[in-house]
């Protein structure tokens, strides 16, 4: 009951968080990675000691590859970002990095993506975003087709979609801050994370809406807001726990897992957290708010 009584406070918190995320997106625009923009990423690690960054920067400038960014990684490594390189340019780059063989190095990874492949991936990502969103919305419409009193079923769907947007926008806002301070870039996994949040966080909302549906049918409470309040009391714990187990494995993935999926895990974690928050403190209170408005009319 506590949640339904203080619904305006909780809805405001969500609204502020979403607003802050949007502001963060404008202040710290997302960095688009080479997956979508095209370009090359070379990671090398030196066997003995790495040459000073300034020396390499000077030598790389002389190659005239356009803008080349070099940043240290680990104890002995560098990551070099440049425009996409062909085989000859790539060899020249390695030769320069090894200072003509003076510094022994091992190339850990090299990734060169032509602009047309980047464009293709962008198109695919956009299509996937559209289709996943459509799929989820259709599913929500289907799942709630039978509940219609006193709030019609499409409004349940709408609330679920609003809370979904909330669940995706906040992690993206967090990512944009990470992007600014730690150089995280938008890559394929970022898109996958955003789409997976859509799939995972809607399930929490559904668990609670499912309870409301059941209690409405049983007609146990006098009015709609009490029914929602009771449903929340009955199901908030399991909603938190189902997300908690996923957050547990995600944290494990973040702290102990492979380097390449760290930001992915972090973003999903944020998505799960705010997904649970929104299903308990946003979606259901919004339903009550809507019902109250309906009554006033």
């Amino acid at each position: 009951m506590f949640i339904v009584k203080n619904k305006r406070t909780f809805i405001s918190i969500s609204a502020i968080l979403v607003l802050l995320s949007v502001v963060a997106l404008f202040v710290f625009p997302l960095r688009i990675g080479i997956d979508f923009n095209g370009g090359a990423l070379t990671e090398v690690v030196y066997t003995n000691s790495r040459p000073p960054q300034a020396d390499l920067e000077g030598a790389l400038k002389a190659l005239n590859f356009g803008s080349v960014l070099i940043q240290p990684t680990g104890e002995l490594g560098y990551i070099i970002k440049s425009s996409d390189l062909n085989e000859a340019q790539h060899n020249l780059l390695l030769k320069t990095l090894s200072e003509d063989g003076k510094s022994v190095l091992e190339e850990k990874s090299f990734n060169s993506i032509g602009p047309s492949v980047g464009r293709e991936l962008t198109r695919k990502a956009i299509m996937a975003i559209i289709f996943v969103s459509l799929g989820i919305i259709l599913f929500i419409a289907f799942a709630f087709r039978k509940v219609s009193r006193p709030v019609s079923s499409w409004k349940y769907g709408l609330m679920a979609v609003i809370s979904l947007l909330h669940d995706v926008i906040i992690p993206i806002g967090i990512f944009s801050i990470l992007s600014h301070f730690y150089g995280a870039e938008v890559d394929t996994l970022f898109v996958v994370a955003a789409l997976t949040i859509l799939g995972l966080s809607v399930s929490d909302t559904i668990v609670i809406f499912d309870r409301i549906r059941e209690n409405l049918r049983g007609k146990t409470e006098a009015n709609f807001s009490d029914t929602v309040g009771k449903s929340l009391d009955q199901s908030y714990l399991r909603s938190i726990f189902t997300s908690l187990t996923v957050i547990m494995v995600l944290l494990s993935l973040f702290f102990f897992g492979p380097e390449s999926t760290k930001y992915f895990a972090l973003m999903l974690c944020a998505g799960m957290f705010f997904g649970t928050y929104s299903s308990i403190f946003l979606a259901s209170p919004l339903l009550v708010l809507i019902e109250e408005w309906q009554k006033k009319k």
């Binding site: 047309s116 714990l237 993935l253």
Partner: protein
Amino acid sequence: MLKKLISILIVFILGGVVAFFVFKSEPKLNPNFENQSSFFKNFPFRLGLDLSGGSHLIYKADVSGVKAGEVSTSMDALRDVIERRVNLFGVSEPIVQVQNSGFISGADEKLIVDLPGVTDVEKATTMIGQTPLLEFKTEAPAGTPQKATVGKDGKVTLDTGPQFVDTELTGRYLKKATLEFDQTTSEPKVSLQFDDTGTKLFAQITKDNVGKMVAIYLDGAPISAPVVREEIPNGQAVISGNFTPTEGKQLVGRLNSGALPVPISLLSRQTIGATLGSDAVAAGVKAAIIGFLVIALFFVLWYRLPGLIAVLALCIYITAMLTLFKLLPVTLTAAGIAGFIISIGIAVDANILIFERLKEELRSGHTISEAVSLGFHRAWSSIRDSNISSIISAIILFWFGTPLIKGFALTLGIGVLVSMFSAIMISRIFLSGFVFIGENKVARFLFSSGFSK
């Protein structure tokens, strides 16, 4: 009761069999792996390039010269040729795929080549891109003006090009090339066998040019120009040039793999060093184990007996998934492992929904056995609905995905499906079996959860 015990026994036996299979077929777990029968050796985990190390190349095929209706045939032919060339290279399990143009994938016809274990891409790309062009040319008719040019340094160069003219006979009509050694000089030579059209063409050329030279050009350069003694009707020719046995062998390989039906150009390439890959595998396994342990601890502490059963079901789920990865097989990438780890967290969601419901039913005065069956029954609709949304995302991601996304979508999707089975079926069978412990305080404590007594 007996029926329930038998079901429990069956689950245990099946679980044991899959666990045994995973253990036996995994070299890191099985100390006697080398001595195992080949059956167990045939099912390793298949690792993606980002974990095994290797190269991922994307080529664009220039099909502008191909008629609209024949694009897909020539792309298939291109794939076959590249596949043969890659196999020559001695790569284990290379993958060569055609990606046709389309609304989603863009306007270009593309060829995707995965070379596990190959990090020297320069060598690989030359190998793949090289088009051995074999031509047969005949002497130009007498009187064709020969071009002589005087270079800047005063040297006179005679252009031998016009000395020979093209014939219709090219490497296209080659049936087979083999490496042979001259019996007297033991010099390597390449013997050619033409197909039917080629045989006819070759017979015609030799017939018309008795006493004259026929030049054999490889990649635009003459490699030998033997004088024809008589008509050769059987479609056999021999190239003897100054090549070493290795060069001869390479030439044979390249001639046999054929020319590229359409020109290709490299669009993008990705190389991952082997150490980076194995570090990622180790980290992924560690994250999975720690994630599992944390969840197991949480379940046993919070849900007690049902929690323990859920952990047991989760163990069976994990071994079943690992077996599926081996049998299907699923190519595991870092993202795929992430998908699997997330699926461990999702797999127990159904158990949480069921156990919370069970607790509720116990509180509302039902007996343990009633509560168990009601708990499963009433939680079903929310389990189904909450899993469907994850499956929708997984299917669409798989549909659109690049290999990286596919790996994730596949492990997550399979995981959600298998977990519905493991969390519901397996834990139900176990829990119903435990109902016989009766209706006393201890039993109610064991079936309750949280901070309740």
